[in-house]
Symmetry: D3
Amino acid sequence: MTIHILNPNSLVHVTDGIARAVAAIAAASAVPIKCHTLAEGPPGIETQAHVDGVVTPLLLQAKGLEVDASAFIIACFSDPGLAALREQSRRPVLGIAEAAILTAMTLGQRFGIISILSKSIPRHMRYLGAMGVLDRLAGDLPLELGVQALADEDQTFARLVAVGRALRDTRGAEVVILGCAGMTAFRARLETELGICVVEPCQAAAAMAVGRVALARAQ
Amino acid sequence: MTIHILNPNSLVHVTDGIARAVAAIAAASAVPIKCHTLAEGPPGIETQAHVDGVVTPLLLQAKGLEVDASAFIIACFSDPGLAALREQSRRPVLGIAEAAILTAMTLGQRFGIISILSKSIPRHMRYLGAMGVLDRLAGDLPLELGVQALADEDQTFARLVAVGRALRDTRGAEVVILGCAGMTAFRARLETELGICVVEPCQAAAAMAVGRVALARAQ
Amino acid sequence: MTIHILNPNSLVHVTDGIARAVAAIAAASAVPIKCHTLAEGPPGIETQAHVDGVVTPLLLQAKGLEVDASAFIIACFSDPGLAALREQSRRPVLGIAEAAILTAMTLGQRFGIISILSKSIPRHMRYLGAMGVLDRLAGDLPLELGVQALADEDQTFARLVAVGRALRDTRGAEVVILGCAGMTAFRARLETELGICVVEPCQAAAAMAVGRVALARAQ
Amino acid sequence: MTIHILNPNSLVHVTDGIARAVAAIAAASAVPIKCHTLAEGPPGIETQAHVDGVVTPLLLQAKGLEVDASAFIIACFSDPGLAALREQSRRPVLGIAEAAILTAMTLGQRFGIISILSKSIPRHMRYLGAMGVLDRLAGDLPLELGVQALADEDQTFARLVAVGRALRDTRGAEVVILGCAGMTAFRARLETELGICVVEPCQAAAAMAVGRVALARAQ
Amino acid sequence: MTIHILNPNSLVHVTDGIARAVAAIAAASAVPIKCHTLAEGPPGIETQAHVDGVVTPLLLQAKGLEVDASAFIIACFSDPGLAALREQSRRPVLGIAEAAILTAMTLGQRFGIISILSKSIPRHMRYLGAMGVLDRLAGDLPLELGVQALADEDQTFARLVAVGRALRDTRGAEVVILGCAGMTAFRARLETELGICVVEPCQAAAAMAVGRVALARAQ
Amino acid sequence: MTIHILNPNSLVHVTDGIARAVAAIAAASAVPIKCHTLAEGPPGIETQAHVDGVVTPLLLQAKGLEVDASAFIIACFSDPGLAALREQSRRPVLGIAEAAILTAMTLGQRFGIISILSKSIPRHMRYLGAMGVLDRLAGDLPLELGVQALADEDQTFARLVAVGRALRDTRGAEVVILGCAGMTAFRARLETELGICVVEPCQAAAAMAVGRVALARAQ
């Protein structure tokens, strides 16, 4: 049996980054964790059309993996297809945004979210509303960095620190969520810099899945 | 210019029913209202996979209609692709669920929803949460009738009345929304029977679109 | 039949401004739109005493117009008498604040409100709470300009832009509502300046009323 | 100095009933409590038009009493004019509905409201929403008794017990509020019968006003 | 009979400060008000462990006072033991935080809280959530002053003014609550400086208790 | 390193029951799971005084276990001392109620809670309010069985089924939480009977802790 992590975009190096993010968790898991790239996905999930558009191929991919799946994780911060895959599969299904938020809810009373771009924030707000947890949100603030700017690690980290501090100091966040699957490398340093917990969503989901696999044995 | 109503399922007779539902409204509209069937859609939107799965062809269909569109209406009570089409199009875009709910909010303090099947209710709850209007919901109760049972009009109407009364009398609904695009024929009789407003979502959305077309002239 | 817009203050030039604001909408309406001044009203609705005080004469005025009314619109951003007129009349009754808010809810996930003075904000908060839509509010910020200062169009526009930017950039508003019946003239320029939708409440309500008149034909 | 209780209806016997309801509280008050009838008010506050319509004469009456007022209480469960009188007066101003609700919030986690007629419940819902306390509401259920039926004390008490039990047993109310200024006589018996606290709103407001008079001395 | 105010910390001079804070209220009370120090309490309630830890001795102390108690007040802004004492005692039991918040809800639509240190804010957020009144909160901002800094009255007052202005001007607070039992001496000056109501929680609770004692006579 | 489960009551057979409940999870855990009885605790946590009263000895017990703790679990459905232990410990700290609720939020849109006695429901409501997740609650209904009645397994199971069906059919629960640490033995049968997920809180927390131990390795 296997925990399958589904990266709904088509970039193999993103999938590889997710695999690195969860490698230490995989070492502590009773079952292997395997990461998959969605060949039919776009190179990045940037619009609501992308979010909705990947669901059909994602469901198909998951159907093929169902037989040996211990659990599924959808590895995009918009949790595309989460409700649909839960209807389709008999296995535990987690989304990295939902898992990060539920994890953050055990680490502080109000959480902040660091988004890449402001245009994804309305999507997050709809999702937090659907989850019914808006009272726990301190704020959701964007880095407002484009793809090229993100490639500059020093600049990206500087923005992460600036936005993290704003969430902590002016919005009252006690814990911060990285609102994207691709910022794992910064987590530990950012946590040290801010002095409050920083949740990386792929790791939060993988850890929760490890727990669910254990839970399934009890049931 | 035209108000385009997009039925995201593939059944022409459903599209025809929507056209009949909005015929009188079309007669009062400054622009024509045209109903479209989505050939690539499933014969009915019954699961979250259907909801998500129709978005890509729906967006493509809408792109082809953009040039002469005054407004778009997505004619399925799950409002598939609403956020995505709003990102894609420069025209007003309405969903029949959202339009029905906003209309009901002007007709009573708490609204009830009559769903076909209980399995769609969690989807509605997520949507009402995302809209941020759960405090206005009196209740969402199912007819719990399958396709064959629905074909029996007397039985269907009897259930509509029973569920409508439950919403009115035990949940405190002042107005009731028909939670499906296919119950137009019962609206007027049900309103008479219950003595409170009954909102048919295709009509609510078409009427709101007529208003938006007028609004665009002022801007 | 006629859509009657009731300006609950006594200033004819305000009524004339409303008429100009909705002129283009009236041109697209199946029925005429007629604006009325409330002779018994105060010269401006500035206090809660004004809001409550105009209801009795407003209801009387509306009663006289009922026979040929297609719909009523109460044209003050505090929606005075809205619930009362809904109890009295058999026609659709809309308030410009409610209509603006419901319209904004289709144009963005979180809306901002630009108020004239901070002292009206608590009144708005009570109203948004009664509507059950506080989760959709990005913020409500005042121009804090007195009557004389408002007469200076350049200064007023500069403040509108400053407050609109604050709502957009620091509060996360995707759409902005003009929280007063008298700022129509600035709408289009402000929308251009801010790059996000700006809702003028009289227009939003008139457009919605045009839709309701069409809806009534279907029912 | 005096605590002025303003009955916004024109029935002297209702005012007398309020005076009896608060007589024991008055005996424990540092200042006298005086009850007033609003001659210009309707014989009963039954519609939203009544609620809004009494505000102007009520404010005028209060203005005349301001000079020797320690505090004002508006004695109708719709709290007509509460926000307006707070703007006008420099004294503490309480409404019996608000005071009853705030008092109930110290007596149980969820409160129920017993309304006379179902048609006032939407008004209550708007008010609870404006107060931001809907999460504390267990339910609001009507006696659904007309004026004549109410005159039959045995029948009224039987209905109070039945509705109170429904709030307690099926809605989870830990405390019940009498949603009307005229049911004082039943409070103690109903509390005994239900075994949970029953709050009479005139008494709750008078008690809170006694506290505010004491508070004013500290400030 | 007596209103017993229970200071759950062990510092007699804090108890004396509370006694001074409520002295004028006591003079207007029908029963004496007596303040008690909890010998078993810590010198200050600074952590959640303190909040929970004082409950057992506090309940024991209250049990000994039950026989002549008119009402109990728990005089710490975390309201330690409030729910527990309500289960134990047959008398009215008030907490100073709850009383301050309910009082503030009659003085403005949104209230601000001035906390000593930011680390107590998550505790306040949990409490406001449990009370179901988060929609009424404008903000909760810290002085961020340690014990020594607080001893400097000029510096403390300057911070109170700065934080109060921030709550009023950038968060929209219409009324401010002093989020600690030890800032009574600044209340009146701060209210003058800010121009909006400032609620001192011990006084708010004592005043409410005076009302409850009067209410008990009516029941 | 060890996951320490702290049973805050003094009954060893309850601790043994918890150990059996999590045995299969322990077998899948990278670290051992050890259950502890709180000698200073009451024989059962039945009142708010019990909840608050166990915190001090619980914190002391946890302090002694800190050095080799991977994580702590507080095994009482009132989560006594959860916030306090989080302040004290540097390890992940979970409460079984919180963990059960967060787990249920991934299994259905609305969850129901089955409580032993109605008197604990207000405590749950305060807690759900503090967690900010009331919008996800379908209902909380009691078995209303005393200790002796609970000993009759057939009767207890019959009540579990009846209450579970009420939550599912009349309240709309998609998933049900056993609101007590002592009903593990019924979980699987109840899930089969109801046809929806049933969450046992000790298991949910243990599984989540297994995940957190894995997460810690990644960080």
